[in-house]
């Protein structure tokens, strides 16, 4: 750490000057590298410290809390219970129902987003008129606060108020509610998906598509045989992002049904355990399980499908 640079030598024998200069240059270069390293670490340090303190430390703390009976209503009865919280959660039908619902919303939502996002991306990429207008308005759902959009959908389907509801009250039934939750989620996130895919489409060489066209490939064939293989990395990154994001769904469910009629997601369940149940042990156990599930999803995407972390590997 304490590398003090030697004092600069003023008087140098002209004959030795060349060797000396080379040595100094070399030393300066290595000092430069060291300085660069130090500067790099110093510049990153604040961001890293904050991320570790506010994300890494709490998750470790959650891991620790999950081994205790930590109930805020009975603070004196905190005791080490080993893995019994995990047994409680993993043998609870409520957890598995929420897990199933979350998975269902994630899979159906991400699939719908991919299809619609691809269509929107193609429109934004190809449209011959009003391209700016289309691209601009497609950003509207992205810019809207999720809670606001959720209220818009909720009121639209509220009996007596909504323009979509009429005499029905779909948000009081389980499956209609789940489909509305998926719709709200898909509506909000298709534009983001489409933008990521459009960035991929921009990289497909126009000549290649022309050549395929001359060889007699139909538009459908050109899309599946030329475009899709070329933009596979963009598709995987977009899907990975959306899958992880969909898995933590909370806002839409909170506003649309508040988890009624068996529509809770795992995030809703963990939230209710904390705020309503004040059970830190069980809440932390769920937090850890959700974290592990997320890690597994990410691992599957990266390892099995070869999704590249965006920005992570700039040397490709």
């Amino acid at each position: 750490m304490s590398t003090v640079a030697p004092p600069p030598t003023d008087a140098v024998d002209p004959l030795e000057q060349d060797d000396e200069a080379v040595a100094i240059a070399r030393q300066r270069a290595s000092e430069g590298r060291r300085a660069e390293r130090r500067l790099g670490l110093m510049l990153c340090a604040p961001a890293v410290v904050v991320m570790l303190a506010v994300a890494a430390y709490p998750i470790l703390y959650a891991l620790w809390l999950s081994l205790f009976r930590a109930d805020l209503r009975t603070p004196d009865e905190n005791e080490f219970v080993g893995l019994s919280n995990y047994v409680t959660v993993l043998s609870s039908p409520i957890w598995w129902q929420a897990f199933g619902i979350t998975m269902f919303i994630t899979v159906i939502g991400a699939a719908a987003e991919l299809v619609l996002g691809m269509l929107l991306a193609l429109v934004m990429h190809r449209t011959l008129i009003g391209r700016g207008l289309v691209r601009t308005s497609a950003l509207v759902p992205y810019a809207i606060v999720t809670v606001v959009a959720a209220f818009s959908w909720r009121f639209a389907w509220t009996q007596g108020i909504g323009w979509l509801a009429g005499d029905s009250a779909p948000l009081t039934d389980r499956w209609p509610s789940i489909w509305i939750i998926i719709l709200a989620e898909v509506w909000k996130t298709v534009p983001f998906m489409a933008l990521l895919l459009m960035a991929g489409l921009a990289l497909v060489p126009e000549d290649l598509l022309k050549a395929a066209s001359m060889d007699g490939a139909s538009a459908w064939q050109r899309f599946w045989r030329v475009t899709v293989p070329l933009i596979k990395p963009s598709i995987l990154v977009a899907l990975l992002f959306r899958t992880l994001d969909a898995f933590r769904i909370f806002d839409n469910i909170f506003v649309l049904t508040n988890g009624a009629n068996g529509t809770s997601s795992v995030s809703m369940l963990a939230y209710n355990n904390l705020i309503k149940g004040l059970s830190l042990g069980i809440g932390s156990t769920m937090a850890v399980l959700i974290f592990i599930t997320t890690a597994i999803i990410a691992f599957v995407f990266v390892r099995l499908f070869g999704a590249a972390a965006p920005g992570g590997s700039e040397k490709r």
């Binding site: 604040p46 818009s152 509220t158 323009w163 009429g166 995030s267 963990a270 769920m286």
Partner: protein, 279 residues
């Protein structure tokens, strides 16, 4: 593109497709605006547009101290979180884009991990930690998690932008006799500023959008932001549903962001996709 002749049929075809996109984007937005303009008389008529538009709901929420307080909280918390996150992210992104140092990949991986983190996994432990150190239900209690989740977004977007900057220009300017400060001020800063600005918008939107932390880490209107406050709205009387007031609050926090995004459309598209294309 100029070689393609646009026949009237294709023009109409694309017109129809574009109209579908516009409908898709605007139908829920127009609906919530329309709802906010309905008075008590037409609230329950179920029509898509307000028959007799009135500003009642707006005067109601702007006369409501809870809403005004929430609006101040939202703006204050998001502006501070964005500013701090931007400074830290700019430093880190500059280092990641321009310097070679050990642990660079680990830092990028960490921030990737955090951007994919399920926020709910942090809520329980943060609730306990914040209660213990006394920042639960305060501005810092929300600013800290916001900064944390804004940092990965900021670092990605900015390092992608910084990689595009032709840094040789800095040396060239210095050879032409500019001082290092002048080279930075006149050459590099103008090139870097659009990226920083775009990132600021993206980070601000992410903070503005948050609901989970806002509702879990607050208990009074001391730090509750608008998205969280909206779900606690009550009508003028207990029997009156605050539908129009919620709609009006929704419009108030939506319109500025939407206008902003529409105005800076190009930059935002570039910002959102920068991390992904680099892959």
């Amino acid at each position: 593109m100029s070689a393609v002749t646009v026949t009237p049929q294709r023009r109409i075809g694309w017109g129809v497709v574009n109209a579908v996109v516009l409908l898709y984007a605007f139908v829920p937005v127009v609906w919530i605006i329309s709802l906010s303009l309905k008075g008590d008389d037409t609230l329950n008529d179920g029509s898509y547009l307000p028959m007799n538009p009135t500003g009642e709901a707006y005067s109601q929420i702007f006369g409501n101290s809870d809403f005004l307080r929430a609006l101040v909280n939202s703006i204050g918390i998001c502006v501070i979180a964005t500013a701090v996150a931007l400074v830290l992210a700019t430093m880190a992104a500059y280092a990641i884009a321009r310097l070679e140092f050990p642990g660079k990949r680990a830092i990028v991986a960490t921030s990737l991990l955090i951007s994919m983190f399920p926020q709910i996994a942090l809520v329980t432990p943060l609730f306990k930690i914040e209660t213990a150190i006394g920042i639960f239900d305060t501005w810092p209690g929300l600013i800290l998690p916001y900064i944390t989740f804004a940092l990965p977004l900021g670092i990605y977007t900015l390092s992608a932008f910084f990689r595009e900057i032709p840094w040789e220009l800095e040396k060239a300017a210095q050879m032409d006799g500019a001082t290092p400060y002048q080279a930075f001020r006149r050459v590099i800063a103008p090139l870097a500023l659009p990226g920083v600005f775009t990132t600021a918008i993206l980070v601000f939107i992410a903070c503005w959008n948050d609901f989970l932390f806002a509702i879990s880490l607050t208990s009074t209107n001391a730090a509750r932001t608008v998205p969280a406050a909206m779900s606690y709205f009550t009508g003028a009387t207990t029997f009156e549903k605050p539908t129009a007031a919620i709609a009006a609050a929704a419009v108030v926090i939506t319109i500025p962001i939407v206008l902003f995004v529409l105005f800076f459309q190009r930059r935002i598209v570039a910002g959102l996709t920068s991390g992904a294309v680099k892959g």
